[in-house]
Amino acid sequence: MRRDIFQAIADPTRRAIIALIAIQAMTPNAIADNFHSTRQSVSKHLRILTECELVKQEQQGREIYYSLEIKKLKEVDKWLDQFRKLWETRFNQLDKVLSTMKKQKK
């Protein structure tokens, strides 16, 4: 199943995890220490984030470290910018329509 990146960041715990590992790479245990939820539930969130390619894993000795895939997060911003641009274009067109309507009314 293809994961929707927006689904990934729709969850508050997952957003908190993103904020945590944005600062430094962390092990699942260290991440779980920051939450009241179980280690198991944190693992589940990490799995979803990994499937969305929002986080990457790195083996260091016996530990696995999770870190943020900044590039992927920027994709979201880029996408939102484009969406904003779509509306800008739309509204500039509407300005013209309104200006024509005003002239016709006079």
């Binding site: 960041i9 996408w79 779509l86 739309r90 067109q93 329509v97 309507m101 005003k102």
Partner: protein, 165 residues
């Protein structure tokens, strides 16, 4: 064009909602018409180079607007809107869903809420769009981006042709 007009666009991903506020340099009744009368909507709703055409519209609660966005190569993307609430010149809500050319809606769609207010001849429109699936929004954008790219290609071709002469 008046550049002092407010334009605010925010997305709350956790609420799957887009919030858009825009001011227009026109009285409320004109802006209301531009948002609710198909022959006017078709003139601005499709971001160029896309165009829009409404097959039919029945602007009343429970009524529908069936329309297509048309890409520069003539590909039609149909959608259907059902008006769920109308308070004349103040607010209207609708449910929007992609459809095929035979009006079969593809659910889930999105819930749209428009609020209009006027102050000193400037009309403010506040729009919220709730999307059950944000992936769906991605699809809207894909069409738009493809359309943009195609029109740029058309322009390039035209320029190439012209420069050859």
């Amino acid at each position: 064009m008046n550049n002092d007009l407010l334009f605010d666009f925010t997305v709350d991903k956790s609420k799957k909602t887009v919030y858009i506020t825009r001011e227009f340099d026109a009285e409320l009744s004109l802006v209301w018409d531009a948002f609710t009368k198909a022959e006017l909507i078709d003139q601005w709703i499709a971001p160029a180079p896309m165009t829009a055409k409404t097959k039919y519209q029945d602007f009343k609660v429970g009524g529908k607007r069936f329309y297509a966005m048309i890409s520069p190569d003539g590909k039609e993307s149909w959608a259907i809107q059902e008006y769920t609430s109308i308070t004349p010149k103040t607010n209207f809500k609708m449910y929007n869903a992609f459809a095929d050319e035979n009006e079969n809606a593809q659910l889930p769609g999105s819930e749209w809420d428009h609020t209009f207010s006027e102050e000193n001849g400037t009309t403010k429109v506040f729009i919220t769009i709730y999307n059950e699936s944000l992936e769906r929004m991605e699809r809207i954008l894909d069409g738009f981006t493809i359309g943009m790219r195609m029109s740029l290609e058309n322009l390039e071709n035209l320029l190439t042709t012209l420069s050859k002469k």
